[in-house]
Assembly symmetry: C2
Homo-oligomer: 250 residues x 2
């Protein structure tokens, strides 16, 4: 038998056969005078064994170990481990498909509706439609959600939750829209002070004090600084005025 016949017999490519030679999975057979490899039936038997194990999902290295060690002990352990590995993969796939289904069920197809727990409610209810500012807010909240510990997660979602309640939602949405308008505005625009005032009135006390406290905290202050760097000039000015008002409110 030459290599093509062997390969066709077992259902692999000749490249695969040579690769198995290279890896030592299949012994190199004798050569004919012209240099061709000449295979015998035992080679086909070994090759078929290798393929059966490979199709079960064993790596070629594992297969070589099994073939050389040869006595059942090794094989049994490897197979058990493989089964456990496959079980893990199965669970992972199920989890992924669940998140996928959740994503696809969401009509707006926002890729961040995959978070869990109470933050999910906030993200679900935060109005993202059309508002660049709200969209970015959502992303940042999602980022914080994955980056922060469980404690910070709950406190954060508690802080934001009032803004998403049915009574407050329309206002929240309106404020987002006005923030969007300030994207290209001048810092001296009269709408800036207007918005800061309305925003200060809209924010609940807990959020206001949390914000004021954040400025002086090293960790959260860092975050706030980074956040403010994403703002346009007018938006930043509104934020500055807002902070002044919140401090006076005490």
């Amino acid at each position: 038998m030459r290599i093509g016949e062997l390969a066709a017999l077992v259902g692999v490519s000749t490249r695969t056969v040579r690769h198995y030679h290279y890896l030592g999975l299949l012994p190199e057979p004798d050569r004919l005078a012209n240099g061709y490899r000449e295979y015998r039936l035992r080679d086909a038997v070994v090759l078929a064994r290798v393929r059966r194990l490979a199709e079960l999902g064993l790596s070629l290295d594992e297969i070589r170990d099994v073939l050389t060690d040869d006595q059942g002990r090794e094989l049994r352990d490897v197979l058990l481990e493989l089964d456990a590995d496959l079980a893990r993969q199965q669970e992972a796939i199920v989890a992924r498909r669940q998140r996928l289904a959740a994503l696809l069920a969401d009509a707006e197809l926002r890729p961040d509706s995959t978070v869990s727990s109470d933050m999910a409610a906030v993200l679900r209810d935060l109005p993202a439609a059309g508002s660049k500012f709200a969209e970015f807010d959502r992303e940042v909240l999602t980022l914080i959600h994955t980056a922060a510990g469980p404690a910070d997660r709950t406190s954060f979602s508690a802080l934001f939750h009032p803004l998403t309640e049915p009574r407050a939602l329309a206002q929240t949405q309106a404020i987002y829209a006005r923030l969007d308008e300030l994207a290209d505005a001048d810092p001296g625009d009269p709408r800036v002070a207007d918005l800061a005032g309305d925003l200060a009135a809209h924010l609940p006390d807990e959020m206001a004090s949390a914000l004021v406290a954040s400025v002086d905290d090293a960790e959260t202050g860092h975050w706030l600084k980074m956040l403010s760097q994403e703002l346009s000039a007018a938006q930043y000015e509104a934020f500055r005025l807002l902070m002044i008002m919140l401090k006076e409110r005490r």
Copy 2:
């Protein structure tokens, strides 16, 4: 933010961040005077999006397409296709685990008990314990099973089935043992002719005529030749005598 902070924030390695730059998944940020990359919050947001999509199982190429195309149409299609792909993987894993379970359930852990249908019964009942010859026979039968078409499969299993029937099994086993003994024997050993005679008596008529017919057929004759090359000198002699007896029996 420098690269380490960004990476820790999102939960990846700095190598990953740089790799995403290389692939164009994440824009290269501005550099500081010392050449360090300086990240802003938006970069973290984008990176987190990439990670969420990657953890769903999208390839980085697909993610780049989704990010650049950006409008939901693309994303939806990709996710649907991904889900289908995951479904296929799930089925594949289930199938593999089933075969694994079958393997592990088999106390002897023979890696060839993974075949299906009627050949499985033959393989199950063929005595493999201890006999090198029978073991090899099993492997060859398994090889034929996977290589042959469905028609040949059934005819083959029909041919072998009588040898595994409870009445005949002890004899079959004994003959295998005697074949093993001939591995290192001389072709002139008196046991050779003995065994050939008993074997001829043991083989059912159908198998005998099939064997005789095989010799003249191009295809099966090829197989027979390859098989006989695996025999030791004494075993080959027994086979030769057997064929003569079978032909005389007509």
